[in-house]
Structure formats: C-alpha cells, structure tokens
C-alpha cells in the first residue's frame, strides 16, 4: 500500500505538470516574436473606387526560425484583388519579410480596417488590422485673375491656382486648357507632384476668336489611379472697363493743294495705356505724303497728342479715320471714327502765268485811257 501512495502522488504530479509543459511550447514562443514592423499604402488615401497596394513588413525578432503557412488579407468592405500567400515558408531569426496585397476601395468615404492575417504552422495566427482612409476630395482649381471681358483676337492673361486639399500628394499633375476657338499659351502646364495642402499658381495667355467656354482641366494620379477635375469660365466679348479708349477731337479738315489736310487731337480717355498708336485715313480716302499715316506712339491715360493726316478723296463726304493701337500685352485694337470732309473746291487748276486775253484787256485799257487822257489835254 505504501508503494501505491507515492506512485499516485507522482502520477498526480505529472498530470498537474502536463499543462504547464504544454504552455511552454517552443514553436509558439518563436511565433510570438514575429511582429508587423511597417505598413505602407499606395496611395496613402484612397478615392472611392481606387485600386492600391498595401505592403506589410513583418520581422522575426526571436532567435528561432518561424514557419509560416499562410498570409492573407480580408475585409468585408474592401476588396482584396490579389491572392493570399499560401506557400509555406519560414522566416529566419532576425529577418524581415514583406507581403503586398492589391485592394480596391469600392466603398463610400470613411476609414476601414482590412485585416492582415499570418497563419503560423502549429503556432496560431497573427492578425493585424490595417487602416485605410477613403476620401473623395479632388484637387481644387481657383480662378485668381481674369479679364472682365475678352475680345476677339485679343490676348488676355488668366491666372489659376491648383490646390491639393488631400492629406496625401497627387502625382503627375498636368493642367490642360481647352475651348472652342481658343488659343492658349501654354497649351498645358506640367506641375508634377503636388504635396498635401500645397498649391501651385499657373498663368495662361488666352486668345479667343469667338465667344466660347474656357475649360481648365487638371489631370493627376492618386497612386496608379487617374483622376481629373475641371473648371470652366465663360468667354464673353465686350468692352473692358479699364481698356484704353482713344477719342478724336478738335478735328479740322482743309482742302488745299489738291489734297485734304486733317488735323486734330487724340485723347486716351481710358484707364490703360495705349501703345503704338497709329492713325490713318481709310475707306475711300487715299493717303498721300507727307502724312500718309501718323504715328503717335504711346499714349498714357488722360494724355493727348496732336496729329495730322493728308489724303485725297473722290466724291465722298465722310472719311473713316482708323486708329490702331496695342495694349500692354501687345493685343492689337482698332477703332474707326468717321469724319466729315468738305467738298473740294470746284474749278480747274490754275495754269501758271496770266492769260493772254487778260493781258490784252489790261494793255488795251491802258492804251485807251492813255489816249483819252492825252486827247482830253490836247482838246482842252
């Protein structure tokens, strides 16, 4: 009996000690040393519908190799496009290993946590939720400066600002300008990467040929996903409130030496300078020397200059005086002012020298009068 008791005690002790031995499994200890050391997302923040890559790096911090049976990612909302890592492999002590998964965010904006799962062989699992943000904020386009009105063939500058309100950079940013009958310089502008909360100012010279709609479209990439945003502004023709406004006054037209001489003053009643101001007579008038055209040059606002034109004209009563000038950007402008001209003095041109009949009349008169005087004194 004495022999049975110690044996029972040993048996009980063994039974009691077996779970502790099981808890101290060497394989489980080694797997516990495997941790996720880094996660990278490309793009950092998804648009709804974007496809991206999640790269997860794990590191074995233990002193033993750990066998990995499977690595996978799954989520109820985020679609995982790539397959799981189903090949059994081993991560050595102190080594790191990366797992990449292609996902598609076909979900409304929000924050999602797809789970990374690492299945150890005979040592349980490692599950790690990865945070994915989905935002639909596009790049913003702001019109910084544009003319009040456009003019046919006139070049005007439009300044825009491209801003990135997102928390991740946009890459491959390119601004395109388009519009029917619109010539833009430059036709597009490459910005490249636009970091988060940064902006880029871009200027375009716009020359419309007809009233149209001007569109600025910004193409960019969020990761590998192309996106675009655009803004349009109407291109309406009209008179600028500040443009140069040359006016003619003090017009005087004389007909002399078989040509018209038109003199006057030209005022700039606008608020902008008029450059390269040139006046000439148009319509049925034929400019002649010495002032076929008159170059005034630059005319500041509220400034004036005198001018003179010489021309010939047929049977017309009005001559258009054409004023051409340019603004500071070199855009050509032209204004026409009708000026009434008097009829030419009728009659033929005077031939040089006194006509013989006139000379004869004068001589005959002198002779007759001389004779009359002589006769009157003789017959006194």
């Amino acid at each position: 009996m004495r022999g049975v008791v110690p044996a029972l005690c040993v048996a009980v002790a063994l039974v009691l000690l077996m779970p502790a031995a099981a808890a101290q499994d060497p394989g489980a200890d080694a797997a516990a040393q495997v941790t996720v050391t880094s996660i990278s997302l490309e793009p950092g923040i998804f648009f709804e519908g974007d496809t991206g890559i999640i790269t997860i790096e794990i590191t074995n911090n233990g002193f033993e190799s750990v066998a990995i049976r499977r690595a996978t990612m799954y989520d109820a909302d985020i679609s995982v496009l790539s397959s799981s890592y189903d090949t059994t492999t081993t991560i050595g002590a102190g080594n790191s290993m990366q797992f990449s998964f292609t996902v598609k965010a076909d979900v409304p904006p929000g924050i999602y946590y797809p789970k990374f799962s690492l299945d150890f062989r005979n040592a349980g699992y490692l599950r790690y939720p990865v945070q994915i943000r989905v935002e639909n904020d596009p790049l913003e386009i702001s019109i910084l400066d544009k003319p009040d009105t456009f003019g046919a063939g006139r070049k005007d500058r439009v300044d825009i600002l491209i801003g990135n309100p997102r928390d991740n950079p946009a890459s491959g940013v390119v601004v395109h300008v388009s519009g029917e009958g619109i010539d833009a310089t430059p036709s597009s502008y490459f910005i490249g990467t636009l970091n988060a909360d940064r902006s880029q100012r871009v200027s375009f010279n716009i020359t419309p040929e007809k009233p149209s709609v001007l569109e600025f479209r910004v193409d960019y990439k969020n990761g590998v996903n192309p996106h675009a945003t655009s803004v349009t502004i109407p291109v309406g023709f009209g008179v600028s409130k500040t443009e140069a406004n040359p006016l003619l006054s003090n017009i005087l037209v004389e007909y002399q030496d078989r040509k018209y001489v038109l003199t006057g003053d030209i005022y700039n009643a606008g608020l902008e300078v008029a450059n390269s101001v040139v006046l000439t007579a148009g319509g049925g008038a034929v400019p002649v020397d010495p002032y076929q055209s008159y170059v005034v040059g630059s005319l500041e606002p509220d400034d004036f200059s005198s001018f003179e034109l010489t021309f010939t004209a047929g049977n017309i009563t009005t001559v258009p005086v054409v004023v051409s000038y340019r603004d500071v950007d070199g855009n050509p402008f032209e204004k026409t002012y009708p000026v009434s001209i008097p009829a030419q003095t009728s009659g033929s041109a005077k031939e040089p020298g006194i006509a013989l009949p006139i000379i004869g009349v004068v001589i005959a008169s002198a002779a007759v009068i001389g004779g009359a005087i002589w006769y009157s004194w003789k017959k006194k």
Partner: protein, 229 residues
C-alpha cells in the same frame, strides 16, 4: 446822252465847263455811283463765295449766305462812301487850301460824273472775277475751334495762285481806270471849285496817288480791299 458821255470821257474840260453853267443836280451822278456800287457788290458777292466755301463746312450754308450778303452790302456802301462822299470831301478840303470856291453839291456832282471810268473798270474787274474765282482753290475749314488753323487757311487762300493773280490784275485795272477818273476829276475840280488847272491837279492827284499807293501796298500784301475794283 451818248454825246455827253463821250465829252465826259474824252473832252472833260468842255463837259464840266458846260456842266457848271447848268443848275446843280445829283441825279445822273447818283445813278453812276449806284451803278458802280451794284457792280462792286456783285463782284464782292462772287469773291465772298470763295470765303463762304472755306467756312461753309464749319458754319453751315447759312454762314455762306451771310458772308456773301455781308460782302455785297459792304462793297456797295464802301463804293458810295469812299469813291463819292469821301473823295468829294477830300477834294473840297484840299481845294480850300487853294482858295477854291463852289458848293459841296457841285463837287459831289463833278466827282460823281468823274467816277464813270471807275465804274467801267469795275465792270471789267467783275468779268475778270468771273474768270478767276472758279479757279481759286480755297482751303476748307470744318471747325472754328483752332484760330491758328483758321489763320493758316486764310493764308492758304491768299497764297492761291489764281487768287493772287486776280488780286494783281484787278488792282492794275483799278489803278488804270482810277487814273482816267482822276483826269476827269482834275477838270471837274477846275470848274466846280474855280481853281487854276495846276491847283486842281494837285487837289485831285494828292489823294488819288495816296490811295493808289495804299491799294498797291495792300495788293502786294495779299489783302483785298472791299469795294471798288
């Protein structure tokens, strides 16, 4: 009447001798002066047309009519005043220096008769004007706002070859026929103011020569006198 006009023009001494023997009458001299005034007015109206064309565009057709009428009326009054009244007055004043006697009415009568050659000269000048004026190419003004331009236009017209030629020829005709009238006035003053012939000549020639010098001077400077030819 024809015989009397012949005597006036070619035998003025006999004509005025007979005239002073008759009662004083200004009827015929007045007719001569009025005829001369009308001819001068017609000539002035024609010449004013040139100025009217110059200003018509700036002032309108009304201004052209006004200029023409103003020129014609001025020429008529000028002719009557200068050639008849003033010349007769000057003759009377000068003849007083030589103790001349006779009424002013008689002087007016003789001066009026003596204007017949000037009237004939005015007719010739009128014809000359009709020949030259269409050839004058006057500058045309469209505004009165620039005095310098107006002055330039006036100078341009005065420098017009046809205008200058007309001025010189009309002045020459005027001087030639004025000389004829002066010859008549000498005999007229001799009998109207009872002067010796030499003193009558001085009485007439002094104002006439002064007038001729003045007319020639103005003609050379391009300014046309109103009235007379």
């Amino acid at each position: 009447m024809a015989l009397q006009i012949g005597d006036l023009l070619f035998r003025p001494d006999a004509f005025f001798r007979r005239l002073v023997a008759e009662p004083e009458s200004l009827n015929i001299p007045a007719l001569i002066v009025i005829a001369g005034g009308l001819i001068a007015a017609a000539a002035a109206y024609i010449i004013s047309g040139t100025y009217a064309k110059m200003f018509e565009a700036a002032a309108g057709a009304g201004m052209a009519t006004f200029i023409g009428l103003f020129g014609a009326i001025s020429a008529f009054i000028g002719f009557v005043l200068i050639w008849w009244i003033i010349f007769a007055g000057v003759f009377t004043v000068i003849s007083m220096v030589f103790k001349g006697s006779g009424s002013f009415k008689r002087t007016l009568q003789c001066t009026g008769y003596g204007l017949l050659p000037v009237v004939i000269g005015s007719v010739i000048s009128l014809l000359v004007a009709l020949y030259y004026v269409p050839m004058i190419q006057a500058p045309v003004l469209t505004s009165f706002s620039d005095p310098a331009a107006i002055q330039k236009a006036m100078e341009g017209m005065l420098q017009d070859p046809a205008f200058r030629e007309f001025t010189l020829i009309s002045t020459a005709i005027s001087v030639i026929f004025l000389a004829w009238s002066a010859n008549l006035w000498i005999f007229g003053m001799q009998h109207a103011r009872s002067l010796p012939l030499r003193q009558a000549a001085v009485t007439v020639l002094v104002p006439v020569i002064i007038y001729i010098v003045y007319v020639l001077f103005m003609a050379m400077n391009g300014i046309r006198l109103l009235g007379g030819s």
